[in-house]
Assembly symmetry: C2
Homo-oligomer: 265 residues x 2
């Protein structure tokens, strides 16, 4: 569960506790790339929101619909207005997480996407991980306390029952805005004890925590970071096939959530 802020009063805590007992109604699924999002849009039979809940000018896209008893919203940050590529990375991810929570008041956020995996930590191409922990590896602020703020390590919302039901590996996730890995990044990723590496997770977690919305992180391995092949090449080669594995896991997770409350996950 997202830690409650200092300003949270008892009435709010009671409301949150009650919300945790109601069946989950609205889910926001944050997905950074269109290639990752579209198969799930088809699977859940979602439609694109033409009268956007987001402000004019932003490229963010919402696909939504009712699947079983769940209001599913897939939010994709869209294509960069100038360059035409997916708006990947922590800034877009944090903005869409914030704007989606404000507009849609979800009970749960799922951040789903592809990731690099470390074979030394047991990751293989096509593995799907649920992150038990998230942290940043490219925010080095060597001043006491600021250093911890930069890393921003957090345990994620625990889902013990989901893990019994759905076949997923569990590992720590480390987030940074680069697809490659510099020696400084590598040292930080090792310090974070991470098995998977992505470009959005810890940013989504930061915003979800700020606004006290539980969030889970599903990451499928497209490339082995500590392997022989160049990351960018391996990533592009495996993107479509691994996305199929990711989408299958996300569907299983959503099926599991249907009819359950947050506290039953």
């Amino acid at each position: 569960m997202a830690p409650l802020g200092d300003n949270t009063n008892i009435a709010e805590e009671v409301m949150v506790a009650e919300a945790e007992k109601r069946p989950v109604s609205t889910i926001v699924i944050i997905i950074a790339m269109q290639t990752e999002a579209l198969p799930l849009v088809a699977k859940f039979q979602l439609t694109e929101d033409l009268d956007s809940v987001f402000p004019k000018g932003v490229p963010w896209v919402r696909y939504h619909g009712l699947y079983k008893d769940l209001h599913i919203n897939i939010i994709w940050p869209g294509k960069d207005g100038v360059l035409g590529v997916d708006s990947v990375g922590t800034i877009s991810a944090s903005l869409v997480t914030y704007a989606s929570i404000q507009a849609l008041q979800p009970d749960l956020i799922i951040n789903a996407g592809t990731a690099g995996g470390f074979k030394a930590k047991g990751a293989s191409i096509g593995d799907v991980f649920l992150a038990c922990n998230v942290a940043f590896h490219d925010r080095r602020i060597p001043i006491p306390v600021f250093d911890q703020y930069g890393i921003c390590a957090k345990q994620t919302f625990p889902t013990p029952n989901l893990l019994k039901e759905v076949q997923l590996k569990v590992g720590k996730l480390s987030t940074g805005d680069s697809l490659d890995m510099s020696p400084h990044d590598e040292a930080a990723i090792i310090a974070n004890d991470a098995t998977v590496k992505d470009m959005e997770g810890a940013a989504v977690a930061y915003v979800a925590d700020l606004l006290s919305v539980p969030a889970i992180f599903i990451k499928a391995v497209t490339d082995i970071v500590d392997g022989d092949k160049p990351t960018a090449e391996e990533f592009l080669q495996n993107l479509v096939a691994v996305t199929a594995a990711l989408d299958q896991s996300v569907t299983q997770i959503v099926d599991f959530i249907s009819g359950k409350s947050i506290s039953e996950l």
Copy 2:
């Protein structure tokens, strides 16, 4: 001027053009650290907004008031709820820029703060720079076009008349989430041709551009990155003194803006 998106129709362009001719009414000043913000809060006689325009749970603080004919809002991302340090860096900066534009509809954004300077490019401690260009140096995505998205280089809103009136150096700004500088960062900063290095500017620029709000960037040099002293030590040593120089420049800029339209800057 922020580039207009594809969806912008002619009516909107006319509105923007007309807004540029009206005197500036509302300014949002984004400042990452309390130490940097408070002297300006005192100077402009602003008061803290107790009935926040921001959602519950976020630590973001708004100081506001009328100074001459201008509605001034200083937005400080506040202290981290868990660790108690200033919420520095690109994620907080982009979130408060987004939320401030949504809540306050400013005519202009000023991102003011301290920065590291490169003596090889002519920077000295205490210099105050107006950034003519912003870019990121820690978002390496070595896939064609994605690489440019990561760097996200942008010319800033031009203010030729302001530069004639107010004594400021002009240089390119490079942004990243680390206070230190790794060899990879250094190579990217050199490629960005940057004279100053901060932790927020390009993130504020990204969001301001997305929402078509003009933004300017005022950065005062607290430490020499290519000098002999460790950055963190030099930064903390000079923070208070350099903030005085920063605040003097921001005051001169605000005085200059008073009574003028965006197109007269």
